[in-house]
Symmetry: C2
Subunit: 161 residues, 2 copies
DNA sequence: GTTAATAGTTAGTACTACGAACTATTAAAT
DNA sequence: ATTTAATAGTTCGTAGTACTAACTATTAAC
């Protein structure tokens, strides 16, 4: 139990924690990136930067966005010229989503915006506190990542009737 | 810098932290509450439990949900019989949103579901670690809460043309 | 007493989540 | 080897939410 600004609290539920921090952060990040004229899902671009040969399925799994939505997200980035789809010759069902030169060019600006906000968000943290925080988050993540979700992406094949 | 499951990372950005934890948690929470046949915004009910005489505007501000969306959210709960609107006689523009007996009755089940998930999410935390985590979150919250957001709820009055 | 601001509302647009079903392709079963 | 099942990506349709603009009723400000 601790006190903060007159509010007494007994260990906050995770949902409250998430909503407290997520909304202002994403709002600010979106605003900060307005001038880049990016779709909201810039995390896709970051994933593409980190991993070569991402299929849409892989991106969907990694970012926990269902693959139906992912089609339109990739369409949007492709339309803007940030990514292109390249069919995998070894498995022609798959399309690798790759950054175009224009896509690669915009990434530093994305990282800059993220860094600036993070520097503010954690401005009064010592490195030790920051590391402890990350460690705690990782622990929580491992505890929750296998939760049975109502948003599990299940693909079922059905025959024509 | 720390290591986890072979992944090396240097202090995660807040956005990654949020999305890592938020999605599985909310997915599980929604599933856990399926049988209650609740709308997704059960946080509204919790807020109503904690605060008497909540106006819709107050709820919108507190939960960072715009007031236009709030109309439908309250409509939904009212339709289900969990809340009712009561006009403030001292300012007839305002409507207090109040829990009905049915609404009050369902809250223990909501708290139970939240507690069960939180117990799992923080299962390997000592009380000291848990308190430190909350403290860190509060600090981050204070750092980000006044971010200029692209989602600021601005109400503009305009004259008829 | 007119003007401005506020609480709540409706209409309309845009984005996302999701289920179902479809095509093309590859893997598995027998 | 041929049938069957599974997978990657897609389209369609539905639902929820975010947001802008504009509106009514009411109250506050000048």
């Amino acid at each position: 139990m601790a006190k903060e600004n007159g509010d007494t609290y007994i260990n906050m539920p995770l949902g409250k924690i998430c909503s407290m921090v997520t909304k202002p952060y994403y709002g600010a990040l979106t605003k900060k990136m307005e001038h880049l004229k990016l779709e909201k899902n810039f995390s896709v671009l970051i994933l593409l930067e980190e991993n070569k040969h991402c299929t849409q399925q892989y991106i969907s799994d990694a970012l926990q966005i269902d693959k139906v939505s992912m089609v339109k997200i990739i369409d949007g980035f492709a339309k803007q010229g940030f990514v292109k789809r390249v069919q995998n010759p070894k498995d022609r069902r798959e399309y690798f989503v790759e950054l175009t030169p224009k896509g690669q060019k915009i990434l530093p600006a994305i990282h800059k915006a993220i860094k600036e906000l993070n520097d503010i968000a954690f401005k009064d943290f010592t490195q030790k506190e920051r590391d402890a925080f990350d460690k705690a988050i990782i622990k929580v993540y491992h505890n929750v990542k296998h939760f049975p979700s109502s948003h599990v992406i299940v693909y079922k094949t059905k025959k024509k009737t």
